[in-house]
Symmetry: C2
Subunit: 461 residues, 2 copies
């Protein structure tokens, strides 16, 4: 590449959503003459949907490549110098350079930068216990993980699967394995599945999962993975019991991958994620940005920092960073903690604070839980839906919403997500002009029913 | 009823959503000793879902009674003196009394009130033309209308139906008749169906309706209904053509039913609807409230009064009026104009201002239209969705959203409805934390894709 003297170099660490969105957006704003872009990715893939892996494993998505939004070749065609299978091993902040190692050859070299984007993502929590690395035990963080799991499923004759963890990945993997015809047991440390919900709402998920034929074991920590004579997994053990397993999937969450950043002296928060300003600049560093699963984000409801690994945030971060690196100005104000998931036809959604979050934030609150339906009760396919709502005592400010139901339940959480962002009270929400027609909603949308009840409780408090 | 001396009397005119919600809510707040409630309804039914009539006619809803939320007997059991088949013929504001006539016997009598609620609803626009009252020509405003139409369908051997009008009722009735096995022609005065959308979005509805086998005739005003020798309808004529019809459904909208109120000197607006304050008190009248399809409502986006006949507003009005009549205080701040509908599997939604509304309100605006999908592109069932967004030039304030798509498209309009209510800019919307998982949304929700494009256009303007 013929570089002009005025050119700057942007280095991006990490080739998935945040990093490559940032690179692409920066490229859109600045041509190759003004900005050289070098991106390092240690794996085989770029810009893929990790969130899609359970659906690929479950067979809803046929081909791995469907999960890839943009290949290395496509990025290169857009003028990004993308170095695959190349792991950054050190950031020299003072020297404005990174050291990278070719994963296959082991060769190392330094690359200098004017601007740096850290998008190193998250790493799965792997329990420290005997047998956790045995053949037949799989994480599902990367496309390579997904492929390895599918290879195991193809090879394994037994049909007993144990999923460790009952968060989003755990319940999605339970669905995937049910769809593949497995007998599925989910072993969960918490009192109910989906600890991102309050336990009373998690209970509904529990019951629905059992209705789907999934065996749900709560309050149970896995102590070891037992292997057979062939060295392969044969069971998962807790303190009280053993669960026979031909395959084990670990879905116990992720932590920010910030070892590199910490070694370079960059600031991390309570959740081990990088700390940034609103423009996603790493605090105290004018020319370093960070985004995606490796950063902490501001929770706009509690005012506290959180770590949320989610592709939709990573993509937004990438856009914001790319705009800033490209000479514009953009901000990522924070999150309200919206998430939606499903287990077969059960839809699960949440936004804002749970009861324990509200207590931790020192807020006094009221809660209501209502039952309604997805459509007018008389309309075919109307399915039950439970909505729990938290509102601050006295002010009536909306604090959070959790929804469990069937078709049409999950995305209703967006109503609350926007209301939270706007700082609405539950009283204000009762007047919201939401879409109504019998095939879409009862005449009072379930979210409005909850808001009315919450407003009434706040008034009486 | 044994009345105490302190007791007040509430009179309610109209026994559907607004009137009976008001009566029920007032009753909840004040017992029979404190408040006597007399309600007049000229028809056979109370508290029913007029919005459900197309689905009953189409066969999705089996029984008429499924559309009835609360029967006269149920209201009476709650201590409401409900007088069915009794039409109020005069309001004597100075004398605080209403004159009512028993529809069957013709007997008239006066009833005095301390507080009055007017919930007289809307009446269908019936075109002034020859043949409009011929047998086989039906409106679909009331349960009685729906029954009459079903009787006609049961008796009629021919399978050709003409629907006059292509608004919500028109397209829903087109679906109903398709479901009943009719050949359906929709004759529409406008340039495209669904004039609540901009014509470019209406065009998508037009194409989808034709794809369903519905014949769509635009730019055509019906001039007369032609009858056969038996006096029944045989065709519908426009200036240019004749459309053979065994049955005709009129779906050309409604107007506020305010003749009674106007005769009593109560204030109506440009749309002929009663004018109220935020507490839904009729302007200038301390002890008269009005709600439902007979009032005008404030459009929170344009700041202008509108008439919108919709059950969800009527129910909210009833709650607000009931609270105020019952001694509390509640307000109905206004609407943003959200509506959602479907024709078979095509979902149609809108909120806020169309281009012509924005022009009429004297606003300068930018528009964008984007194509996206309901789910991650790789997830089964991902269906295309078109989102049009209007934003005010320079300020970037969201002005309106229109969505046409398949499953999952319609209720996405709620995101925009809440954002409009909160007065958000499209730039602010780009950061909204909406529910994301592959079965529910692409990583950028279609509404966010539109917001990003609109924000970019506003910045460039």
């Amino acid at each position: 590449m013929n570089m002009s003297a005025a050119s700057e170099r942007l280095v991006v660490i990490g080739g998935d959503a945040a990093g490559m969105s940032a690179a692409s957006q920066a490229r859109r704003l600045k041509g190759p003459d003004a900005l050289e872009i070098v991106a390092f990715e240690r794996g085989h893939f770029t810009s893929y949907s990790a969130c899609g892996i359970p659906y690929w494993v479950g067979g809803d998505v046929e081909e791995r490549d469907q999960l890839i939004a943009r290949t290395p070749e496509e990025h290169r065609a857009r003028g990004i110098d993308l170095r695959m299978r190349t792991e950054v091993t050190e950031i020299d902040v003072a020297g404005q350079r990174v050291r990278a190692r070719d994963v296959d050859s082991g060769a190392e070299s330094w690359t200098s930068y004017d601007k740096l984007v850290i998008a190193t993502g998250a790493r799965p929590i792997r329990p420290e216990m005997p047998g956790a690395d045995a053949p037949g035990v799989h994480g599902v963080q990367t496309l390579d993980d997904g492929q390895a799991l599918l290879d195991t499923l193809a090879r394994t004759r037994g049909r007993r699967a144990v999923v460790v963890g009952a968060g989003y990945i755990g319940v999605e993997m339970a669905e995937a394995l049910i769809n593949r015809g497995y007998e599925v047991t989910v072993v969960n440390r918490g009192s109910e599945p989906m600890s991102t919900l309050d336990p009373d709402m998690g209970r509904l998920v529990h019951e629905a999962m059992e209705g789907l034929g999934i065996t749900m074991v709560n309050d149970a920590a896995v102590t070891k993975v037992l292997t057979g004579e062939d060295g392969r997994v044969r069971a998962v053990a807790t303190e009280d019991a053993e669960y026979p397993a031909d395959v084990v999937v670990l879905g116990i969450g992720v932590r920010p991958e910030t070892s590199l950043a910490k070694a370079a002296g960059l600031p991390v928060g309570h959740h081990d994620g990088l700390l940034t300003d609103l423009a996603l600049r790493v605090r105290g560093h004018e020319n370093i940005w960070a985004g995606g699963d490796c950063v902490e984000v501001l929770d706009l409801v509690s005012g506290q920092e959180r770590h949320i690994a989610l592709g939709t945030h990573a993509n937004k971060h990438g856009q914001v960073i790319g705009a800033n690196v490209g000479g514009g100005y953009a901000t990522f104000p924070g999150v309200v903690g919206t998430a939606v998931s499903k287990v077969c036809d059960l839809e699960i959604a949440r936004t804002g604070l749970r009861e324990k979050d509200a207590r931790r934030a020192g807020l006094q609150y009221e809660t209501v839980t209502i039952e309604s339906t997805s459509r007018a009760g008389y309309y075919p396919g109307a399915s039950p839906m439970t909505v729990k709502m938290l509102a601050e005592r006295r002010t009536g400010r909306l604090l959070g919403v959790q929804i469990v139901g069937r078709e049409g339940a999950g995305k209703r959480v967006d109503i609350a997500a926007v209301a939270l962002t706007a700082g609405m009270t539950v009283e204000q929400m009762t007047a919201l002009d939401l879409g109504y027609a019998p095939p879409f909603s009862p005449v009072w949308d379930p979210v409005l029913v909850a808001a009315r009840k919450a407003a009434s409780k706040v008034r009486a408090s």
